[in-house]
């Protein structure tokens, strides 16, 4: 790393502690980039670098503060005197089940994850969640059999596992929530009728002729059809319909 380049743009450096060792890093970097700046190379604990995949869960403390802080390393900017370590993996048992034959009932979840009832409502899971998911509330919802509420409350979960790392009841909340979302999405939520109809139409061969026709076209004709196709405007009203229904059943 050419540190001279960094000083040229007048970036200030700050001290941070990575697994107990002190490094001076530019104050504008994310934790992830600061670790790379300090010479670490990611083999695990790094994924999308966009705050979505949940691979880079980080725990840290600040000087003179008893609280534990968390964040995604790719999203959190470094602070002076930050003591940090990444948690690339936290052991968490996931129950195995045959989704096809699983009943979408609270009892199915209770049977696969009886540790659900070890929750004491301490809320450490919610406090630690880097995505601000109300983890304890979805655990509570599941205890009272409300799969829909649990699915909705846990929707932003990226499965980083920090909740499991803090749980007094030693459960892996995020696996339980994933099961709730699967049951809700796959078996409880109303099905999209228009999607089903479209699938039926495709299977019935409604578009076979149109498709065969497209396959005979040359490159230029194909480009013309593509660029001239009618698109729904980004800010269209609820009741927007295409001017032409050509090709639709």
């Amino acid at each position: 790393m050419d540190t001279a380049t960094v000083t040229e743009v007048e970036t200030k450096t700050i001290p941070i502690f990575v697994m107990g060792k002190k490094y001076e890093v530019p104050d504008t970097l994310t934790i992830m980039k600061a670790l790379e700046y300090a010479g670490y190379q990611y083999i695990r604990g790094c994924g999308c670098r966009g705050g979505i995949c949940g691979a880079c869960a980080t725990v840290y403390r600040k000087a003179g503060d008893y609280k534990i802080y968390t964040g995604l390393a790719c999203q959190t900017v470094v602070e002076p005197e930050m003591y940090l370590a990444q948690i690339p993996f936290y052991p968490a048992n996931r129950a195995s089940y045959d989704f096809e034959t699983l009943d979408a009932t609270p009892e199915s979840i209770f049977k696969l994850y009886p540790e659900l009832f070890r929750c004491v409502a301490c809320n450490a899971c919610t406090k630690v969640c880097p995505m601000d998911v109300e983890v304890m509330d979805y655990v509570s919802a599941l205890k009272r059999g409300d799969i829909k509420a649990a699915a909705e409350l846990s929707f932003d979960c990226i499965q980083c596992g920090l909740c499991a790392s803090r749980c007094m009841g030693e459960m892996a909340q995020y696996h339980i929530a994933q099961l709730a979302r699967r049951l809700y999405g796959g078996k409880l939520a109303p099905k999209a009728e228009h999607l089903r109809k479209m699938c039926d139409d495709i299977e019935a061969g409604t578009f076979d002729n149109a498709m065969a026709e497209v396959k005979t076209l040359g490159e230029d004709e194909m480009k013309k059809i593509y660029t001239e196709r009618e698109m729904e405007p980004a800010m269209s009203e609820e009741g927007w319909t295409p001017a032409s229904s050509a090709g639709l059943a």
């Binding site: 409502a121 301490c122 509570s140 059999g145």
Partner: protein, 295 residues
């Protein structure tokens, strides 16, 4: 008085038959209440350990929720939730140091100020509606129904949270207001077998057998309950209990709120006799309190 209704987990699953009629009855009786939007398990059991504050976090957090919704009273229907919430409330109201510790632990919530009253549904009926007012709304009196009123432990013990400190017979008065006949019932305040039914089944069964036997001796048509755990031990597991005891006869079990729903003429889908045993349904049809077609 601004009342928050705290449901409890079982009310939303297996014990819907304890909840639904009770809530509609409050509308019929003109009692304003709001169901808590956000709540967690009551804690299930009040921890007796001196230094076990973590197990009081769950009940106190629910009291914070009621406080956040601008309420001053929490009412429960499940007697186990009542007991857990009321005792946790009593503990922190009487011990500012413990309250402070719990408040500091829950640093993401507003502090609990100790200002919530926790009451049971029967207390609400007795003290805020009144038996005469209840009686005046009864459209189908339960004439000739002999009921053994089962309190179990959690409505009455310990004394500090008893819903009937003067031992006036709150459940008996409730039943009389509905037109039913409470029968003298020696095991009314015995233990149903509690969680021992699962941990130590033999001892649990013996407890339950004592209650069933006492209801038999009292000549009760039905045993009336206020707790999903009592219902599990005395209702769901009753055939096993009866089979092990000598000279025990089956006795239909019903929640007190199911009788309330019937007496107030509520819709059958609110008192959910489908969740009660067949014996209870047969009894109510035979006594002509419900139409056979509705059960």
């Amino acid at each position: 008085m601004k009342i928050a209704y705290y449901p409890g987990c079982t009310m939303k699953t297996r014990a819907a038959s304890l909840e639904l009629a009770a809530l509609e009855a409050l509308n019929v009786l003109g009692v304003d209440f709001t169901e808590l939007q956000r709540w967690n398990c009551c804690g299930a059991v009040f921890s007796l350990a001196e230094d076990d504050l973590i197990h009081h976090v769950a009940p106190v957090r629910n009291l914070v929720r009621a406080q956040q919704e601008g309420c001053d009273t929490v009412v429960t229907i499940c007697s186990q939730c009542y007991n857990t919430l009321a005792r946790a409330n009593l503990l922190v109201r009487g011990d500012s140091e413990k309250l402070d510790t719990i408040n500091r632990f829950m640093d993401e919530e507003p502090d609990y100020d100790g200002g919530i009253e926790v009451i049971h549904y029967l207390t609400l009926l007795r003290d805020h509606v009144g038996w005469d007012a209840l009686k005046s709304k009864v459209v189908r009196p339960l004439d000739g129904l002999k009921v053994a009123p089962f309190y179990g432990c959690t409505l009455l013990r310990p004394d500090e949270v008893s819903i009937d400190p003067l031992k006036e017979g709150v459940l008996e008065d409730f039943l009389r207001a509905l037109g039913a006949e409470p029968v003298p019932f020696a095991a009314a305040t015995e233990c149903c077998g509690y969680y021992q039914m699962l941990a130590h089944p033999e001892e649990g069964m013996q407890r339950a057998a004592k209650v069933i036997g006492s209801a038999n001796q009292a000549g009760a048509d039905a045993l009336v309950l206020s707790c999903p755990l009592c219902e599990y031990n005395l209702g769901t597991r009753q055939s096993e209990v009866v089979a092990m005891g000598e000279q025990l006869e089956p006795v239909p079990t019903l929640y007190f709120t199911q009788l309330l729903g019937i007496a107030l003429g509520l819709e059958p889908d609110l008192y959910r006799l489908d969740l009660a045993g067949p014996a209870a349904r047969d009894l109510l049809v035979e006594k002509n309190f419900v139409a056979a077609a509705t059960v």
